[in-house]
Amino acid sequence: MSLVLENVNRSVDNTSYLKDINLSFEPGSFNVLLGRTLAGKTSLMRIIAGLDKVNSGKVIVDGVDVTEQSVQKRNISMVYQQFINYPNMNVYDNIASPLLLAGTPASEIKKRVQETAEMLRIEAFLKRYPLELSGGQQQRTAMARALVKDATILLFDEPLVNLDYKLREELRQELRELFKLRNSIAIYATTEPNEALALGGTTTLLHQGRVLQTGPAIEQYRYPINLDAADLYSEPPINILPGTISEQEVTFDEYASFPVAGHFKDVAVGAYRFGIRPSHMSLVPKNDDDIELAVQVEVAEISASETFLHVANKHFQLVLQLSGVHDYRTNTPVKIYLPPEKLFLFDFEGGIIKAPYPAREQGAQQHG
């Protein structure tokens, strides 16, 4: 099974939701759509499902143009953010419902429901009704219903967002295993970069209705195509400092400077925006050439094992992600250190000029 979207556009009342989407999904692949709220993730899924119409463009499944085909004719399963189950049916009947509709023989239904329920670890609740289940169990039921039939395309629209984060952690791991066993195309939408990174597969970055980038999530984390992409992959958001590169020096607002070296060597002289991820800055220099900045603490957010230190001076506002507990009162002056070799370089339109990671091959390395 293959799925291709060709120049897909969608707008409603002059508001554009999807712009020139060209994507192809490989048979048996697991895909993630990563983007903020209103980036176009749900719009895209609804078009793939046949729930919404395109304004222009084509949806092609296995070489056949299905753009005008109704949702019933497309062999698709979808799981939503909200737990959608039939409240008047027990878990067994909920899971069995798509098979009943398809006229599957009773013995086959029983076997498939049992298998799917076991896979999602809800086999003990088959006699219960949805409202007698926890949120996690309800969502597993909805997922089981989506997985029980051999859909060509499986769409998951932020299915874990309404669950406890612990449950999310567990289900995420299970999902990854589940999809490995299937031959359908799975597409999973999320707003969380960590989810894209943890799930693996091919990630498409969506931003304001456009595709920014497609590839493995870890590649996108290291080589974002622009500032929007870098920002989508940073939690807390990536720090941006305006500055200039001259023949000899890199300068941030005439405030701190360091010699042009490393990955900045062959960059044209001019004004740029420098990006640094919160986890790459520190309160103690790690190398002699780290850039020192004098700032004041705005607020220290202490999580259990880490501190998010929000700092500012009159030029910048930055956040550092530090391991350990660093309790600072508001307005305490501190010195922070930026390793120049970790800086991203963007132009003023947000396009990337340089990424701080050396060889591209490294990004593709993955175990297990």
Binding site: I302, T330, G368
Partner: protein, 371 residues
Amino acid sequence: MAEIRLKNLAHSYATDPEHTTDYAIHEMNHVWEQGGAYALLGPSGCGKSTLLNIISGLVIPSHGSVTFDGVEVNDISTQDRNIAQVFQFPVIYDSMTVYDNLAFPLRNMKVLESEIDAKVREVADILELSDILQRKANNLSADQKQKISMGRGLVRDDVSAILFDEPLTVIDPNLKWKLRRKLKQIHERYNITMVYVTHDQLEASTFADKIALMYEGKIVQFGTPRELFENPNHTFVGYFIGSPGMNLLKMTLSEQGAELGGITFGLNAEQRALLQGAKNAELTLGIRPEFVQLSAQQNEESLPCTIQHTEDLGTYKIVTVMLGDHSIKIRLDEEQQIPTQDAYLNFPNQWVKFYADDYLINSTEGEATSE
């Protein structure tokens, strides 16, 4: 402003509760001090919303009492408790301007317009809503609406406490950071008792000075985020705090040390003494993924393991290894190398915790805070 105290409080939704399972809240004594920033953290179904509703007066407890500054409020209505609440979904008047939304609680109290104006502008300034005061609320983004919800609590001087029920659920990840930081600043400035209910440990720990972690109707630990992380007094705390949670390995005692499914972890005299008293209990060894050391080199105390899987999350990596029959997760920094062939684990003694029937076996200094 108030100190909130729960005295022998318990709650059952059943009319004639018989078994402990009939209770949504098991009997507890608990104090939230005036001006503190607290989180009530736990999985869904743990009773945290019930507890919040008891404080706000939406639910009347079946046993015990709630006091505000020493005065019992069990029979006092929500309005009269002067509690401000911020819910999961912003509750504001869409047809009103931002200004009128903020002024609403004060106008209800018949405060002078001049005073209202000063207060509304002050709060709008802090929440960065000054530029949109005259805009209608219906077209605003979720985070702005949520700021208005908060603002309506802040304009009132008589507020006993602000209760937050999962206030960031509908907010995009990048804006959550901003809003959370704002909350923290507001707390530093206004000195109001704040109780924040969430299932998200990051939100809980960054917001709160102290977290009450709830599990099955009980507060299993009340402490600073750091205490919950470094010294969980129950296996559930170990599991729930941290991402991934604590590695919890079932163990038995032997002459050689702790038997972990085919692997022996050597115990020092102090650890052995600690475990002596708990010989008959079900024992668990706990260590956080952050504290497990992974190396390609063997040393005297290292345990051999095999690497199963690596998740590269950009800023850090999660490595899953097998140690005997146990699957163990290790959290490594971005730059740390993963052994390609032979791999060995070390459990630094300071971070190894022992649990008897799920409760931490305390050394002398770490005292359990079950209150």
